[in-house]
Amino acid sequence: MKRTISVLVENTFGAFDRVATMFSGKGFNIDSISIGQTEIEEVSRMTIVTEGNDQILDQVVKQLNRLIDTIKVVDLSKEPKTVRELALVKVNHENHSLQEIKNLADIFRGKVVDINNKTITLEITGPPEKIEAAVNVFLPFGIKEMARSGTVALKRGEQSIPSNKKNKTK
């Protein structure tokens, strides 16, 4: 089962490395990981998608919590949430009409962000399943190159994960 974990970490030297080292050292999988700034300057948010049963997930969350640089760890797997990923897909259009590709892209609300006489680059945003579906559609055309951002997620509603609240235990 896929799990989405949101981790607020101190924006310190090596914090990202610690998380990655923990995952590899403990033998946990990482499906995707994304990291970026938050509303607070010295705090970054990592969104990690991993796989495993409840016991493994429990350990992942506890091990993340144990790291000194992590401020807050929340398992979003069972929470109502907004999940997004961005993909840039460079599709070969030599043997197909551009219109055909653009029509298909429209179905996924994809945007054309670059074009030349051989390839067209589409930007597609959405939940990972949607990206998956779009990629499958463009596969027969020949995907020259692709970059995916990894998942980012936020809990729905007004609630937020407080980054300054001292409610974690080690």
Partner: protein, 571 residues
């Protein structure tokens, strides 16, 4: 001390150590730390112990930390100095012992350039430290040192490394030591959940076959008194892990001794049959549980630990309590209001004890490690600090030395580091001046850090170094005999072992040797009186003895082997 006067990084470093009440550091100088050593020359509030190898320094720090109950401190240079500490750091990490390791680093502008004696020690030690730091500016220096000591010694203790670039040590700022420490991502939970504690007390007092399973956490939290109260109030039998030995007196009749792979038959049977298992500061590691599926199959499991990750890691428990073990034990004891009759349970346990007590061959008059340890236990009344190495002798110590005090059994449990005993005993000697300190090694492990005998001699430490020389890497030989077709591949040291008496004497240690049972007492008495410096005794013991009982790796209690199947087997 704070004001406007600027101080150098080196001055700040020692000022911070003073604030942390450091009285001893174990170290070795080099280029990257030369400025710190220049400063150290004029420092009078602490003693710097010059080791002979940086691995030695880290083991010394661990020995010191366990005995003293506060972090051991190490100071080494960059590159090879730093990488030499890796084994000792990993060792302290596995056994949750607080040490703070300061490593020199090349100047900030050279980091990443493959500069002379550069090693990314922060990267290297990330998975084996509780936390580590690279100090990136002089302003960060003092607060980082403060955090390092706080993190190492609070919560579940562990090693912390601080990497100190040379230019930062040379630069200046105003010394400012924060009065309060606040790390928002780190708030160890000390108090246990009250309802969980009440529930635990109820389960315990209604149990018919309860068992206390005690780990090193009880010792590290100084919870032995509280444990004693709980055990005495309830009459529940106590079994200890390798790291837990000493938490409860081994001489008391409620003690079943150690459990696990080489634990006593009674302890392992009790684990198997108990109805409520109370794990205190223990971590259900594989040397204890054997096959997880058959481990303590019918028990309701209560697990008290300060580290949430220890809970449900190996064995799923019914009632987890996260908190400082000392506090939680006291609170559980306070909630218990009736004493259950455990006489049936004790009858059963006594039957197991009689069925298969610890025993070894005495009649043939040959010298055996078990005998020597029994004699040491007897002579020191279980009150010495015993520092073992890794192997058969280590297991025999856990079986035959009856520890009566906490912080008295020093061993490399989690990592199983050969070469631990000699330096760790030295660290212990700087933490404890009254009780005797006895280092016990096999002939193999003794050779892994014997350079530190020089340190012991240089500081005239009255340590008794004991070598149980069976001419083999005994524990590996045992596995080869039992499980690897008797292929004694590279475990016979006999022909290549040095003359240990000559080695000892050459390094400044008064040394003796015997292979006779009837000389054991005399030699032990003799070295116990020689307290002007270190002494060494080599006991030439039986070569092919094996440690029993033994639950095979990954096996169940039903697979326990209690004696050699083919007694005539010879090499």
């Amino acid at each position: 001390m704070s004001g406007t006067k600027k101080m150098s990084g080196a001055e700040i470093f020692f000022e911070a150590l003073r604030k942390e009440n450091v009285d001893t550091i174990f170290g070795y100088p080099g280029g990257a730390t030369i400025k710190l050593y220049e400063q150290l020359y004029d420092v009078d509030f602490l003693e710097h112990i010059l080791c002979r190898h940086e691995q030695g320094a880290t083991h010394m720090a661990k020995g010191y930390a366990i005995v003293k109950g506060k972090p051991g401190v190490v100071l080494v240079t960059s590159g090879p100095g730093a990488t030499n500490t890796v084994t000792g750091i990993a060792d302290a990490y596995m056994d949750s012992v607080p040490i703070v390791v300061f490593t020199g680093q090349v100047p900030t502008h050279l980091i990443g350039n493959d500069a002379f004696q550069e090693a990314d020690i922060v990267g290297i030690t990330r998975p084996i430290t509780k936390h580590n730091f690279l100090v990136r500016s002089i302003e960060e220096l003092a607060p980082t040192i403060q955090k390092a000591f706080y993190i190492a010694s609070s919560g579940r203790p562990g090693p912390v490394l601080v990497d100190l670039p040379k230019d930062i040590i040379a630069s200046e700022t105003v010394f400012n030591y924060p009065t309060k420490i606040d790390i928002r991502g780190y708030k160890p939970q000390v108090k246990g959940h009250h309802n969980q504690i009440k529930k635990a007390a109820q389960m315990i007092q209604n149990a018919k076959k309860p068992l206390l399973y005690v780990g090193g956490g009880v010792i590290m939290s100084d919870g032995n008194k509280e444990l004693g109260v709980l055990a005495k109030e309830t009459g529940i039998p106590v079994t200890m892990t390798l790291q837990g030995l000493g938490a409860y007196p081994g001489t008391d009749k409620q003690s079943l001794g150690m459990l696990g792979m080489h634990g006593t038959f009674a302890a392992n049977m009790a684990i198997n049959e108990c109805d409520v298992l109370i794990a205190l500061g223990a971590r259900f590691d594989d040397r204890v549980t054997g096959k997880i599926e058959t481990f303590s199959p019918n028990s309701y499991k209560i697990h008290v630990d300060i580290d949430p990750t220890a809970i449900d890691k190996n064995v799923l428990v019914d009632l987890p309590i996260v908190g400082d073990v000392k506090h939680v034990i006291a609170e559980i004891a306070a909630e218990i209001d009736k004493k259950t009759d455990l006489s049936d349970w004790w009858n059963q346990i006594n039957a197991w004890q009689n069925e298969c007590p610890l025993s070894y061959e005495k009649e043939d008059g040959k010298l055996r490690t078990e005998y020597v340890i029994e004699r040491i236990s007897e002579k020191t009344k279980g009150n010495a600090i015993i520092v073992t190495d890794v192997g058969q002798h280590q297991m025999w110590v856990s079986q035959y030395y009856k520890f009566t005090n906490p912080r008295s059994h020093l061993t490399s449990g989690g990592l199983g580091t050969m070469g631990f005993s000699v330096p760790a005993a030295i660290g212990a000697a700087f933490a404890e001046k009254k009780r005797p300190i006895i280092s016990i090694s096999g002939d193999g492990g003794f050779q892994m850090n014997l350079q530190e005998l020089i340190t012991a001699a240089a500081y005239k430490l009255p340590i008794k170094f004991i070598i149980m020389n069976n001419s083999f890497l005994g524990m590996v030989r045992q596995w080869q005999e039992l499980y690897h077709a008797e292929k004694y591949s590279f475990t016979d040291l006999g022909a290549s072992n040095p003359d240990f008496v000559k080695v000892g004497e050459a390094l400044g240690v008064k040394s003796f040797s015997t292979n006779k049972m009837d000389e054991v007492d005399g030699l032990l008495d003799k070295v116990m009186k020689m307290n002007d410096g270190p002494t060494l005794i080599e006991f030439k013991v039986e070569k092919e003895d094996m440690v029993f009982p033994m639950v095979p790796s990954g096996g169940s209690i039903s697979d326990i082997i209690t004696k050699r199947l083919n007694p005539k087997k010879m090499v």
